[in-house]
Every structure is written in structure tokens, then in C-alpha cells.
């Protein structure tokens, strides 16, 4: 992360969702602090963390909103889907119930986010192979059927954690490059920050003009 903490071109907003206790906060902590947080307390409402990553030579600041899994916080957590460019949907590979609830989480995510939001399915706790309750194949099939990116990860060992966040960012960046994301619209979860990406800016302005002409 060279170049100081302020040199980034984009801000991407993520939201992490999933049942209580699947390790959402631990994934975030592992990603932002590179440490495993044992005895992680239940999240109250929402919490948030940031980190700058580099994708295709662009520095991107990830603003990650970690939601409480408990149902009683729904009134708070559902407000954070709106502005998300990426949604990380987490289940626990050792607890089938958390996998079974995915479709309801997915429905929420589809309903409350915008159509370009990249949804990434994460099977957490991959270090607990012995207690596995959901096979990789099964989850992979679910992900493919629903057009989700998928990976198994472990917040404890840090396995794949980095990849999950960065792959999501790559996909979002790809969407921007393909012109699927209007940088001028609010609540896409993507913000262009600095002038350091003149090419993109030009493109954006072009899009804007196109929009005007239409």
C-alpha cells in the first residue's frame, strides 16, 4: 500500500451479509487488520472498516459495511444495501442452516441493492474441514445458478480472504470499464475520487454527454 493513504482513485462500498455467527466481522477484521479476532462480539447494527487495494494499477479504497446477522437489527442493516457496489454473502460451511438461509439473503440483496451490485458468495470457516456440513460442489452449483462469484475462505487462517475482497473489486472495476456503472449516479457504491484516472474521467464525461443527447 505505497503512496500514502490518500492516493486512491475510487471508493467502492461493500456490504457483508449472512446469518449470525458465520464470521462476517472476522472476515472484515482479517482483511483490514490481517489478524484473526477470536471471541468476536456480536455486531450491533452495523460497523465499518476500510482498506486500500490495488486493482489493474488503480488504487481503490474499499469502504466495507459489516452488518449484524441478528434478525432484530434488520431495521438498521437493510439501509446499507442501497449504496453497495459489492455484497459479500457469507455462510458457515460447518452449519447447514446458514447455507439454507442463503436464498432469503440473496432475495434481500437482489431487492435492496442496485442491479450492478456484484454479489460474492463466501463459505467461511474452510479451516474446519472435519466439521464440514456443506460441500464445495453444492455451494458452487448454487452460486453458478444464481450468477454469483464463489469462494471458500477462512477468517481464522486468512485463507482466500484477500482474494474474496479483491476479486469483488476486480469485477466491479470491470463493470466500470465496460460502462455498466454510471459514475455520476448516486448510490452505485462507486465513487471516483482523484484526477489520477484521466482516461476514466474522459469516458465518464463521454457517457454523461451521451446521456444528455439521448
Amino acid at each position: 500500500m505505497s503512496g500514502g493513504p490518500y492516493n486512491y482513485s475510487y471508493i467502492f462500498k461493500y456490504i457483508i451479509i449472512g446469518d449470525m455467527g458465520v464470521g462476517k466481522s472476522c472476515l472484515l477484521h482479517q482483511f483490514t487488520e490481517k489478524k484473526f479476532m477470536a471471541d468476536c462480539p456480536h455486531t450491533i447494527g452495523v460497523e465499518f472498516g476500510t482498506r486500500i487495494v490495488e486493482v489493474s494499477g488503480q488504487k481503490i479504497k474499499l469502504q466495507i459495511w459489516d452488518t449484524a446477522g441478528q434478525e432484530r437489527f434488520r431495521a438498521v442493516t437493510r439501509s446499507y444495501y442501497r449504496g453497495a457496489a459489492g455484497a459479500l454473502m457469507v455462510y458457515d460451511i460447518t452449519r447447514r442452516s446458514t447455507y439454507n438461509h442463503l436464498s432469503s439473503w440473496l432475495t434481500d440483496a437482489r431487492n435492496l441493492t442496485n442491479p450492478n451490485t456484484v454479489i460474492f458468495l463466501i463459505g467461511n470457516k474452510s479451516d474446519l474441514e472435519g466439521q464440514r456440513d456443506v460441500t464445495y460442489q453444492e455451494a458452487k452449483q448454487f452460486a453458478d445458478e444464481n450468477g454469483l462469484l464463489f469462494m471458500e475462505a477462512s477468517a481464522k487462517t486468512g485463507d482466500n480472504v484477500e482474494d474474496v475482497f479483491i476479486e469483488t473489486a476486480k469485477k466491479i472495476y470491470q463493470n466500470i470499464q465496460d460502462g455498466n456503472v454510471d459514475l455520476n449516479a448516486a448510490d452505485t457504491g462507486v465513487q471516483l475520487k482523484n484526477t489520477t484516472a484521466p482516461a476514466d474521467r474522459k469516458q465518464t464525461q463521454q457517457q454523461k454527454q451521451d446521456g444528455c443527447n439521448c
Binding site: P5, Y6, K61, Q63, V76, S79, T113, A186, N194
Partner: protein, 639 residues
């Protein structure tokens, strides 16, 4: 010549007179001798002389021989004459030479003096020259020093231009050259302090002054530039580049100018944020679902607004951090508080509208919780004095008030015209209604149930708001009934309330107070039950006499029937339970009443037994009461 002339005749004479010894003392003989003895061969001079002499005469004549001497003398004279003549010339020449020499000397002397004069003259000149030369060297050195000094203590023209901007292009942008120049000015200013410590105070002061002026100009220019830049931060996503960051960092040296720029930034961001907020509320382009579309669902509507603001604050916080190039909460908090100020009004209007139009207590309570949650969140992100936090606090207070008034109204509405108890003395359905309302409220307390002592207080208030009127109306409803019926009905109602309330956290005090009220009514039931037992066995009269200390024979007589009456009670005490007691809703309560009533009865029995023993003696007691009190106690209470 005379010697030679004389010698020649004598040499011939001496050769004749040589053997005479007497002539030895004669100088003539000596001379002859000498001539004779002389060896001509060895005498070159003589030989030469003779040679020369031989050329004199052409003929050896007598004349010639006689005239030899005069000839010689003549020749000698001639020679001398010649010699004199030659010498004369020589003398003349020598004299002229001498004259010339003396002239020359004079000339030389003259020259010498002149030279001397010139020398004195030149030595001055030389001195002057060498002085000048050394001065020159000194000056050259000085010039080096001065140029080094100027190089160190003065700005290059291009630096000066970078710093103060050229007149042609006043609005030139600030770039790295500017910062470098500024750094140099500051360096020079710093170096001057060294100068001040030396003897060069004046120079130091003057340079310092000039640098200070430069710096002022630079700051002013920087300020104008920053202000201009900050003013453009009103786009949805501000572009904060490293130059502005650097510029503001520099400007921190001038707190007032810095503050002006920050104010400018805050105002720009405030405008941008309000615009974005209104956009998100009314015409979200990307999702096509503006927040206001959800205004029919109060909790979701408010939740969306707060969630949006929460995220916006986080992003603004990032912007501020990147603007100040450090995370200094001391500085960023006032900015954030100002940036978010603009959203207060639109937020307040909308939430207030929701609050006022939300009449249902459960929904209202959910809103209270939501507001309180975000009040906490925003308090954590902003300063406590931030307008946004204040707005939320106001709204929370308002919502809290509205909630209680809604709860009051709802409770009153439910309890309106509470009907008289049914014959089974079970709690009124209204009690259930109130309790289910309370349950739905308490189960949505989730969000804020963590922490805050305030919460406990509020909970207590909710409970009293619901339960006090409930109990009051229950009391009112049972007024026309008998004491026992009333007590049983109230116990039943209170028991239901208590068992519901005790399921929740922080309700201990309320549960306790309910327990006390219930106990009071339980006591009533118990005493009714024990009185009933006393009556059955015919203790009533004796007991009242005993308590008044007026034992008469009649009182004792009233006990005569006791043995017959007592035995069925002992054998089947449950038969003598009052019908109302059976209507107590909980088996646990029924049991408790029974046990306590028996306990009371046993106590009555004991006191009567003791009184009879004292008054009438053991005999009478045994006949009247075949079972001693211990046995009765055992029989009744072991059940």
C-alpha cells in the same frame, strides 16, 4: 751609451793587463774584468743591442767610429724627441679622455640622482600597486562571499516568481516550485537567526524582514488559491489532490487563513451533501428507488435516511482525512459537524412528519429505538455539539414523548369500559390485550437494550404506563364484588401480568412491586380461608373472646362441638377449601394459600389449646381436643 763607449777600449786593455794582481783593486780593472768575464753568448740583451748597433753604420770608418757616440746620442735624442712628441699626443688624448670621462661621470652622477629620484618615486607607486592588488584580492573574496551570501540568503528570480506569481499570470496555479520556494524562504528565515547571533545583525534583520514579507505574500497567494480550490469541492465527489493537501498543510501555519479555507470547504461540502441527500430522497437514478418512495413504512423510511447519512458521514470523514492528510479528530470533527449541518433540516422535517403521523405505540417504539441507535452512532462519529446529533436528540426526545402518549392512549383505549369479572374470576381479556401490546413493545427493544442506564428507566416508564392503569381498572372493575372474589380476581390478574413481565430483562423492580401487591391480595385470600376453617370447627366465638381477653363459660361451651367437627376436617382438609380459592389460576398459588391457611389454623388451634389448658387444666383439654396441636400440625401441613 757612454758605458758601452767606455767599455769597448777597456775590454781590450783589460785583456792585456789581466794577470796583474795589483789591478784587482782598481775599479777599471774590475770593470774590464767584468767585461772580459762576461759571456756574450749567454747575454741576449747585449747580443740584441750589438745586433741593433751593427745596423747603424754603413761603413766601419773612423769617422763613423768617432761619431758613434754622437750618432748614438743624436739617435737617442731623436728617439726621445719622437717619444716626447708621441707622449704629447698621448697626453693630449689622455687629457681629452679624462675630460670625457669626467663628463661621463658627471652625466652618470646626474643619472644616478635622477634614478634615485625615480626610485623613490616608483617605490610609492609599487606600494600603492601592491596595496591595490591586495585590495583587489580582498574585494574578489568579498564578492565571492557576497554572492555566496546572496545565494544563501536571497531568492533566485525564478523562485521569487514561483512564490509571488508574475503579474502577467496572477491566477497561476500553485505547484511544486512554489512549495520549494516557500521552503527556501523559510530556510533563509531560519538561517537568519544564525546571522543575528553573529555581528551581522542588521543584515539578519533586514533579510528576515524581507523573507517574512515574501512569506506573507506567499501565504496570501496560497490562501487565495486554497480558497478557490475549496470552493470547488461542491461536486458530489470532491477531487482532493496532493497539491491542495500540501497547500493546506502549509497554510496551517496561518490558523486564521487555514480556518477560512476549511470553512469554505465545509460550506461547499455541506451544499454537496444536502444535494446528494435530497437526490437520494427524491430521485435516485441508479436504483430507481428514491428513499421517499418508502415513506409509507416509517421504520424503513427513517432507517434508509439514517443509513444513508451514516454512510455519507463515513465518506465525508474520509474526504476530510484526505484533505487534512492526517486523522486528527480534533480538526476533522468540527468540519464534519459543519458539513452535516445542512442535512439537518430536510431530515428533521421528514422524520418529524413520520413521528407525528405514527400513532401505533409498537411502531412508535421501533422508531424510538432506531432513533436512539443512530443518535448513539452519530454521537460516536460527530461531536456531541454537532447540529446533526442535536437534531437526532431532539427527534429522539420527540419520538419518545409521542411514543408514551401513544402508549397511554392505546392503553386507555383498551381499558375503556373494562367489564365486570366473569364468575370464574379469570383475568379480563383486556389484561391479555394490554400484555400482548406490552410484549410486542418489549420484544422490539432489541436495538438499544445494550448499555445505557437510560434504557432501564425508560423500560420502567413503559411498564408503569401500561400496568398501572391496568391494575387501576381491574381494581375499579371488581369494586362491587365481595372481598374474597375481589382478591382472587386481582391475584389472578396480577399473576398473569407478573409472569409476562418477568420474562424480560431489567424488570426486577416491577416484578417485585407486582409480587407485593399480589401478596397483599393473597393474604386476604389466606385469611378468608383460615377463618373459614375456624368457623367450620366452631372456633370463631372462642377466638374472638380470647382476643378480647373476655373468656366466659359460654366461650368454653362453644368448643364442645369441636371434636366432632374437627375430625372430618382433619381427614379431608381439601373438602373445606373455599370455592373461590379453587378459582386461583395457578396451582402454585392455590397450594400456597392452602398451606398458609392451614398454618394460620394451626396457630389458632395452638392458642386455643393453650388457653384452655391454662384455664381448665389438662383434663378438660384432652377431652375437648383429643389431638394435641403438634399432631394437628403434622396432619394438616404434611399434606
Amino acid at each position: 751609451m757612454a758605458a758601452i763607449g767606455a767599455a769597448s777600449p777597456s775590454s781590450s786593455a783589460s785583456s792585456t793587463a789581466a794577470p796583474s794582481t795589483t789591478t784587482q783593486q782598481n775599479p777599471l780593472s774590475k770593470k774590464l774584468h767584468k767585461i772580459l768575464e762576461s759571456n756574450l753568448d749567454n747575454d741576449k740583451e747585449t747580443l740584441e743591442a750589438l745586433g741593433v748597433l751593427s745596423g747603424f753604420l754603413d761603413k766601419n770608418t773612423l769617422q763613423a767610429r768617432r761619431n758613434l757616440r754622437s750618432d748614438l746620442e743624436k739617435r737617442c735624442l731623436g728617439l726621445n724627441d719622437n717619444f716626447v712628441q708621441c707622449l704629447q699626443t698621448l697626453v693630449q688624448q689622455v687629457q681629452s679622455l679624462q675630460k670625457e670621462a669626467s663628463d661621463m661621470k658627471k652625466c652618470c652622477d646626474n643619472m644616478q640622482t635622477r634614478l634615485g629620484a625615480a626610485k623613490t618615486h616608483t617605490s610609492n607607486l609599487l606600494k600603492e600597486t601592491s596595496e591595490l592588488q591586495s585590495k583587489n584580492r580582498e574585494l574578489e573574496m568579498q564578492s565571492l562571499v557576497v554572492s555566496a551570501f546572496l545565494g544563501k540568503f536571497q531568492l533566485m528570480p525564478q523562485e521569487s516568481e514561483a512564490l509571488c506569481g508574475s503579474y502577467r499570470a496572477q491566477a497561476t496555479t500553485i505547484d511544486d516550485r512554489f512549495f520549494a520556494a516557500m521552503e527556501r524562504v523559510r530556510g533563509i528565515h531560519q538561517d537568519c537567526k544564525v546571522l543575528l547571533r553573529t555581528s551581522q545583525q542588521r543584515a539578519g534583520l533586514e533579510i528576515m524582514e524581507s523573507m517574512a514579507m515574501h512569506l506573507e505574500t506567499a501565504y496570501e497567494r496560497l490562501y487565495h488559491w486554497c480558497q478557490g480550490q475549496c470552493r470547488t469541492m461542491n461536486a458530489e465527489f470532491p477531487e482532493i489532490n496532493s497539491t491542495l493537501r500540501k497547500a493546506l498543510k502549509e497554510l496551517k501555519e496561518r490558523p486564521i487563513l487555514f480556518q477560512y479555507c476549511i470553512d469554505e470547504y465545509s460550506i461547499a461540502r455541506r451544499m454537496a451533501l444536502v444535494r446528494s441527500f435530497i437526490d437520494a430522497l427524491t430521485r435516485d437514478r441508479s436504483t430507481g428507488r428514491p428513499i421517499e418512495l418508502h415513506s409509507h413504512d416509517p421504520v424503513r423510511y427513517c432507517g434508509y435516511m439514517f443509513g444513508w447519512l451514516h454512510q455519507a458521514i463515513a465518506t465525508e470523514n474520509d474526504h476530510v482525512a484526505s484533505l487534512l492528510s492526517e486523522h486528527d479528530t480534533e480538526q476533522s470533527l468540527p468540519i464534519l459537524s459543519m458539513v452535516t449541518e445542512g442535512c439537518c433540516r430536510p431530515l428533521h422535517t421528514r422524520v418529524e412528519q413520520v413521528i407525528v403521523s405514527t400513532r401505533h405505540p409498537v411502531l412508535a417504539y421501533k422508531l424510538v429505538n432506531l432513533l436512539r441507535y443512530y443518535n448513539g452512532v452519530f454521537q460516536g462519529l460527530l461531536k456531541d455539539t454537532a447540529p446533526m446529533v442535536k437534531t437526532l436528540t431532539d427527534l429522539t426526545d420527540l419520538q419518545s414523548k409521542m411514543f408514551f402518549s401513544a402508549l397511554n392512549a392505546q392503553t386507555a383505549k383498551i381499558l375503556e369500559g373494562i367489564e365486570a369479572p366473569l364468575p370464574d374470576l379469570s383475568p379480563s381479556p383486556k389484561v391479555g390485550e394490554i400484555l400482548s401490546l406490552l410484549q410486542s413493545i418489549l420484544s422490539s427493544q432489541d436495538l438499544t437494550s445494550l448499555g445505557s442506564g437510560n434504557h432501564e428507566q425508560q423500560l420502567l416508564l413503559i411498564l408503569t404506563t401500561c400496568i398501572d392503569p391496568l391494575i387501576q381498572s381491574c381494581n375499579d372493575a371488581v369494586a362491587p364484588l365481595s372481598r374474597l372474589d375481589r382478591a382472587v380476581y386481582l391475584v389472578n390478574s396480577l399473576y398473569l401480568v407478573q409472569s409476562t413481565v418477568s420474562l424480560y430483562e431489567f424488570t426486577d423492580r416491577q416484578v417485585e412491586s407486582l409480587e407485593q401487591q399480589m401478596q397483599a391480595h393473597m393474604d386476604t385470600v389466606t385469611s378468608e380461608q383460615s377463618d373459614h376453617l375456624s368457623e367450620v370447627v366452631g372456633f370463631t366465638e372462642f377466638r374472638s373472646s380470647l382476643s378480647h381477653n373476655k373468656l366466659t363459660d359460654e366461650s368454653f361451651e362453644s368448643l364442645n362441638t369441636t371434636p366432632q367437627l374437627l375430625s372430618p376436617v382433619i381427614s379431608a382438609p381439601d373438602q373445606y377449601q373455599l370455592p373461590q380459592c379453587k378459582l386461583l389460576a395457578s396451582a402454585h398459588l392455590r397450594n400456597a394459600v392452602q398451606q398458609k391457611a392451614f398454618e394460620h389454623f394451626c396457630q389458632t388451634y395452638e392458642s386455643i389449646y393453650a388457653a384452655v389448658t391454662t384455664e381448665k387444666g389438662e383434663e378438660v383439654v384432652k377431652s375437648l381436643f383429643p389431638q394435641p396441636p403438634e399432631q394437628i400440625r403434622k396432619l394438616l401441613l404434611s399434606l
